[in-house]
């Protein structure tokens, strides 16, 4: 039903989606979001740090709030921490539901909240060295939709 993981090492999103879907044969639809490190733009590496006492508990609370808000058969949230290269998967959210509207809204809501409220700090490495990523106004606007 609720599968929330914080991973220090790489994961295989296709395999995760396949297992998640197979685990919910009664669901008509599965919506997933996969975020990956973008290739291009001069970014050589991305590092995500977290604060262990808060980050995973916060993700679990988010999952519970999503499950309480929409009629889902299952919800998967997988998030990487550590240093990643372009093309590496960062985050996978998948929602299985009887009705696709619920699955879309749940995955969208979960991503907006993961991005703007979860305890992750991100820095990018370019030719100029490492640089911390600041909060974005766009994320606050995304959050205000709900």
């Amino acid at each position: 039903m609720r599968d929330v993981r914080l991973l220090e090492t790489a994961f295989d999103p296709a395999l995760e989606i396949e297992r998640f879907t197979a685990g919910h044969p009664q669901s008509g639809g599965v919506v997933s979001f996969l975020g990956q490190v973008r290739e291009g733009g001069g970014v050589e590496a991305l590092e995500l740090r977290h604060y262990a006492p808060l980050t995973l508990p916060g993700m679990r609370q988010l999952a519970d709030s999503v499950l309480g808000r929409w009629a889902l058969d299952g919800l998967l949230i997988v998030h990487r921490v550590g240093t990643m290269a372009p093309r590496d998967p960062i985050v996978l959210v998948a929602a299985a539901a009887r009705h696709r509207r619920d699955a879309f809204a749940a995955a969208d809501f979960a991503m907006d909240h993961l991005k703007s409220e979860s305890w992750f700090w991100k820095r990018e490495k370019t030719a100029d060295g490492w640089r911390w990523i600041e909060p974005r106004e766009e994320d606050r606007r995304d959050l205000a939709r709900w």
Partner: protein, 79 residues
């Protein structure tokens, strides 16, 4: 024994390391013994504070005991 300060995100750069041991005591006294520029950053309006893994609503009242961990959490990064 000592208490520990933990600096997340860009505060780690400001502090020069991810964590630091400090003598216990009221938060105001602990901060007063730090570099003033760092103390100002740590007291920034958007910096949240967690004591032993729980967010603190009123940092002014915090008194660090031996073995406590106090984390300084700047705004999380954008998407």
């Amino acid at each position: 024994m000592a208490a520990r300060l933990v600096f997340l995100g860009r505060l780690e750069d400001a502090a020069g390391s991810g964590e630091r041991e400090v003598a216990p005591g009221p938060l105001a006294e602990v901060l007063a013994r730090l570099d003033p520029a760092l103390a100002v950053e740590l007291l920034g309006e958007r910096v949240r504070i967690a004591l032993n893994g729980a967010l603190v609503a009123e940092p002014g009242g915090v008194v660090l005991a031996d073995g406590d961990e106090l984390a300084f959490l700047p705004p999380v990064s954008g998407g």
